[in-house]
Amino acid sequence: MKFAVIRFGGSNCDSDVHHILNDLLGVPTDLVWYKDSIEGYDGVVIPGGFSYGDYLRAGAIAARTPIMSSVRRLADSGKPVIGICNGFQILAESGLLPGALRTNEYPKFCCKWVNLRVENTDTAFTSGFKEGEIVRMPVAHKEGNFFADDAALQDMNSHHQIVFRYVDPDGNVADYANPNGSVENIAGIVNGSGNVLGMMPHPERASESILGSDDGRRIFESMVEYAEQG
C-alpha cells in the first residue's frame, strides 16, 4: 500500500498532505515530481497550490501534462484519486471531473473556515462520515466558483456526485454560507464511479485538532480504507 502526492511547479500543499498520510496515518507516501512515474501506486493526491502560476486558467497547464494520462489510467482502474483546491481545478480541466472552477463571485482570494454538509457517504472518500453531517474545513482560493450547466447539474445530482455543499452552521444551504458563488453551493464532487474526488476546501489543513478541526482526516482515512479493500 503506497500513495503518491504529485508535485507540479507551484504546488504548495504537497508536504501537508504527505505529513497527514505518512506521519499521521502511517501510510507510505511519496512526493512524486510530475515528470516521474506513478506506476505501482494505490492512490494519488493532487495537492493545492498555484501550479504554473495559474497561467491561462487555474489548473489548465498542469491538466495537460503527460502525468495526467497516468492519473486517468489509475482512476479508470478504480484506484482513488483526490484533487484538493488547485488539484480540483486540475481534475476539472483534465475532464476527469465535470464542470469548471471560475473566479470567485467576489473576485478576491478567499481564505476562511467553512461548514460543509456531507451529501454522499457512498464514495471512496466519505465512508467515514454520516450522511448530512456538518464538518469544518478551511478554503483558500480565488478560482473556486464551481459551474456546470443545468443538464450537467441534473446528471450529477441524479448520480449523487455532489459530495460536499457549503452550508451555514445549522446545515442549511444558504447564500451567505457560500464563499465563492458556486452553483448549488457545491464544494466537492466525485466522478460517476465515486473514486475521483475534487474539492475546494483543504482537508489536510483540518486533520489535527491543534489546527482547529480534524474533520478532514476522515477523508484520508476513508481513502486509505477504500484502497486497502482493493
Binding site: 491561462l56 486558467r57 489548465a60 495537460r64 476539472a92 480541466e93 464542470g99 469548471a100 471560475r102 473566479t103 470567485n104 463571485e105 467576489y106 473576485p107 466558483n145 459551474f147 456546470a148 450547466d149 458563488g181
Partner: protein
C-alpha cells in the same frame, strides 16, 4: 507561411463576469453611461501553416484542447 493568430477568449454570455462588472461600475462612477463591460483574454500566437485555413484549423484545435474551457468560454480567432 508565417501567420499571426489573435485569439479572444471570453466567458459565455450570461456567465457571471465580476471583473467586467467592476469595470462597468468604475466607468459609471467616472460619469460614462456604460451599458456593459466584459473582460476577455487575448492571446497572440505566431505559427507556421500551409495557408490561412490550415492556420485557423490548428488554432481552433489549440483552443479546444487547451486555450479555452468549453464549459465556460467562447472564443474567436482572427488570422493575419
Amino acid at each position: 507561411m508565417r501567420y499571426c493568430a489573435e485569439i479572444t477568449i471570453q466567458l459565455k454570455q450570461g456567465m457571471l463576469d465580476p471583473e467586467g462588472e467592476t469595470i462597468q461600475r468604475a466607468l459609471t462612477h467616472l460619469g460614462y453611461a456604460v451599458k456593459s463591460a466584459h473582460a476577455a483574454k487575448r492571446l497572440l500566437i505566431e505559427l507556421e501553416a500551409d495557408d490561412s485555413d490550415d492556420a485557423t484549423g490548428m488554432v481552433d484545435e489549440m483552443c479546444r484542447k487547451m486555450l479555452a474551457n468549453p464549459v465556460i468560454h467562447n472564443y474567436s480567432i482572427v488570422i493575419r
